[in-house]
């Protein structure tokens, strides 16, 4: 038994356990322990991963001349850690009162747990794939498992899931096309064979391959222009599912991109592929897609009035940073991109947890119907605060470090416009997440929320763990950067030489230990100054300046709607919904074609077709 055997078996066991016994009330808790067990197995292979060796799966399948194998290298391991971490915490979150309430409200908790386990299991299979066929199988399993989880909520979630599966199937088919193309050239689908055959392919063929694989993987990542499905699909998934999706699910696309475009095809080859009629090459194209993916979804997030949708849209945008860092291809950039996978996962998970904790207590995630909950749910507030600082990429949380890496890479590589785009995205994120926390936790507490309490421990505990993680990896990013360096060497990218606090560079280094230390020293001085002043006294929220007006609880004076009115006044015309238009146009065209064809089939005199066809065919044959 290799550690990978144990891991996959145990993961499968978790799934089977939930399938069979998932209806018992303790099942969620047991499953959480099981996820913990999976993490242990993952930890067990850590020493081999650190050695740079590969952990193989004992079972190999040969079908139709295709050898299929599974193995874990540092790349798989890195993503698997995040996957299992997200699975563990999501399951924990769902195992207590949240799940109880969900079930009592008519939700199918069993299905939710099973779907979660199926997602984790299939992701592990995908991450372990040792050849392209295994990759495709894993890919499809993940797609359908996600679909299952998306449909748990029913109602609007179903529509979102349908949209997802259409996109996902299109993407999968593009990937399949790429795979069979490669197969026809290489005669096999082992990574080694493909690395050998790629240099022999013509530019046009590689172009086609990159386009097929790229667009397929981009669908999962939610990269432009395939991003439309993601927000609704993730946001409508019930609590822990949304957190899990938000944290890691879309990153499977990134994993595949790293595997195929970086490891198999190689970034160098990408920059040889010119785009016709422009001065850009394929790599620039990817970089620009990444930047557009950062900007557009982020500014769509800014307009959302539902906290879940807001977060989901940001999830799409943050994917852009990872890709951007990665396609820069240097040690800093790719380290930043990979680090951001981890950092973002922690941030997004904690944010979704906090939002669903609020939903748990108040019954709504509508940003215009909340406010002032900080006095009622301080831990959730703090969790969201830590999350938004991380998501926006401000020190001292971990999101800053990964973005810093990406920015520095862009600076060193001399990409001012990409840099500008990335920063504009960050600024938009800051605006949007402030709106999130302001409208939820700050401002006026509504009368109907006076009795609200902090979420139960089963929901708070995962948040606290994530907060600690976010802060710890923000102060000491070296902890994760060590893993990232392993991944880089496994993938064949230049390896970042990190320190515990960040990175040492001749052209400007980063040491978060110092930065955070000084920041907190500054806070200390600020606190000293503050608390040396007179004694404070908290006043009631209605004791508030309103130009001499007497405020009462019935008056809603929380400023939440149209939050960035001035900005929106200027940029609202820029939201043209072009992608939605494009999507619906395609749909309509297909619909028109379909109804024409249906009419064709419904014709009254089908024999005429027959005769016409005969005549046409014979003419074709004889001429």
């Amino acid at each position: 038994m290799t550690p990978l055997d144990e891991l996959l078996l145990f993961s499968g066991l978790t799934l089977v356990f939930l399938l069979l016994l998932g209806r018992f009330s303790y099942a969620g808790k047991v499953a959480t322990v099981f996820y913990g067990g999976q993490l242990l197995f993952l930890a067990k292979m850590a020493d081999r991963i650190v050695d740079g060796s590969i952990v193989t799966f004992s079972l190999q399948v040969e079908l139709f001349g295709q050898q299929m194998s599974w193995r874990f290298d540092a790349l798989s391991w890195f993503f698997a850690v995040i996957t299992l971490g997200a699975g563990l915490l999501s399951s924990w979150y769902a195992s207590g009162e949240w799940g109880e309430r969900f079930r009592r409200r008519g939700g199918n908790l069993w299905l939710l747990n099973v779907a979660l386990a199926a997602n984790v299991f299939s992701m592990l299979i995908l991450l372990g794939s040792g050849d392209l066929l295994a990759l495709f199988i894993g890919w499809e399993l993940v797609s359908w498992a996600s679909f299952l989880l998306m449909t748990v909520a029913g109602g609007r979630a179903i529509q979102a899931a349908m949209r997802y599966i259409t996109y996902a199937m299109s993407g999968a088919m593009a990937i399949l096309a790429g795979i069979v193309l490669l197969w026809s050239h290489a005669g096999g689908l082992q990574y080694g064979q493909i690395i050998e055959v790629i240099p022999q392919l013509s530019q046009a063929q590689v172009w086609l391959l990159v386009a097929l694989f790229g667009s397929g993987f981009a669908v999962k990542m939610g990269l432009l222009p395939f991003h439309l499905w993601q927000a609704a699909a993730y946001a409508e998934t019930p609590g822990p599912g949304a957190a899990f999706f938000g944290a890691i699910s879309a990153r499977m696309g990134l994993y595949a991109i790293i595997l195929v475009l970086v490891q198999l095809i190689g970034l160098a080859r990408l920059s040889e592929l010119m785009i016709p009629f422009t001065f850009l090459d394929m790599r620039d194209l990817w970089a620009w897609i990444a930047v557009l993916t950062i900007i557009l979804p982020t500014y769509i997030a800014l307009r959302q009035s539902d906290a879940r949708y807001l977060l989901a849209w940001h999830g799409i945008g943050q994917g852009g940073y990872m890709l951007l860092g990665l396609v820069m291809g240097d040690a800093l950039g790719s380290a930043g991109g990979l680090l951001h996978v981890f950092n973002y996962a922690t941030n997004q998970a904690v944010l979704f947890f906090a939002v669903f904790a609020v939903m748990f207590r108040t019954g709504t995630a509508d940003l215009n119907k909340l406010g002032g909950l900080i006095t009622r749910m301080p831990i959730s507030f703090f969790a969201m605060l830590v999350g938004i600082i991380g998501l926006a990429g401000l020190p001292p949380m971990n999101g800053f470090v990964s973005k810093w890496f990406v920015y520095r890479s862009l600076m060193i590589e001399g990409e001012p416009l990409l840099f500008l785009g990335a920063i504009i995205g960050t600024l938009g994120t800051i605006l949007s997440v402030y709106k999130l926390i302001h409208n939820t936790f700050l401002g006026q507490l509504r009368v109907e929320h006076v009795e609200v309490r902090e979420a139960p421990w089963s929901m708070v505990a995962p948040m606290i763990i994530l907060m600690l993680l976010i802060f710890a990896t923000g102060v000491a990013p070296g902890l994760v950067l060590d893993w990232v360096a392993l991944v880089q060497s496994a993938v064949g990218l230049p390896v970042v030489e990190n320190t515990l606090g960040g990175v040492e560079l001749a052209s400007g280094s980063l040491d978060m230990l110092w930065v955070v230390g000084v920041l907190f020293a500054g806070f200390g001085i600020g606190a000293l100054l503050f608390y040396s002043g007179g004694r404070t006294r908290q006043v009631h929220q209605l004791d508030n300046y309103a130009g001499g007006h007497f405020l009462t609880a019935e008056i809603r004076y929380h400023y939440s709607d149209n939050f960035y009115a001035g900005l929106m006044h200027l940029i609202r015309p820029w939201y043209r919904g072009s992608f939605v238009w494009l999507e619906s146009t395609l749909g309509s065209l297909l619909g028109i074609a379909a109804s024409l064809i249906q009419r064709l089939y419904g014709a009254l005199h089908p024999s005429i077709y027959l005769l016409v066809t005969v005549v046409v065919t014979l003419t074709w044959v004889l001429l």
Partner: protein
Amino acid sequence: MSIQTLLMELVLMPLVAFVVGLFMVLMLRRIGAKLQRRVGPPVMQPLYDIVKLYGKKTQISHGWMHDIGIVMAVGGYVAAETLLPVPGMDGIADKGGLVTLVYVMMIPSLGLALGVGQCANPNGSIGIARALTAMLAYDVPFVIVVFGVAWYFGTTNLVDIIAIQQAGGVAGWGATAMPLLAIAGLFALQGMLGKQPFEIYIAPAEIATGPMVEMSGKYLGGLFVMQCFQLYTAGVLYVSLFLGGGENWLFFLLKVFAVVAIPMTVAFLFPRYKTEQMIRLMWKWPVMIGLLGLAFVMH
């Protein structure tokens, strides 16, 4: 560098920043007075204000985030000062660099935003919304400038940037090499300091000073302290990027005060722009100038 010197620097740098900042506030008010043909406040007026505010008997709080917001607003700048080299003192400038500094400078704003948020005053929230929008506006030219400077000097380490400039004399200054970027930087500076015409988020007659609406006593005092730091930081940063930093304290302070005097003077000559006007202006002229400057720098 011994640990004692470092510790001393870490204490001294914010302290110097505060003192210099007090005089900048004074200069701000004096310039305004001069332009309006008044006498203006006495020399110690900024200090009087702060002491008075801290010495208020009742301190009205709206909750713990309100308190912590002020702590963050002041503390963030205290931290930022240690990342900003001044003559004879580098602090921990080489541990963070330009990008880190830019982001650490956002912490006070974040703290303030959170604190104001808990005040539950719509004027305050509107003010913050506008302030963040303003940040979106002026940061675009600002990051162009940052990028240009980092590219030109090949580093983001402020100590190195200053050293390179000083090695070349006045001809080596960033402003000489990158005049267009320096101009774009001035625009950004104006926005960053929130001075007219870009002070829509304060707008006293409309939204009752926006973020400050519920600030009393030491809360307001904290903001006054923050303003000192803010003026100082912006000025020193500009001097470090474009005017060769400080060879010695005399020249250094001269340059810094001169730089800060520009937006202050401009401030009293202009009315207030609406938010969208501000964005449009910031995204048009300084960005164009900045990109042009960047093009010159990079080729």
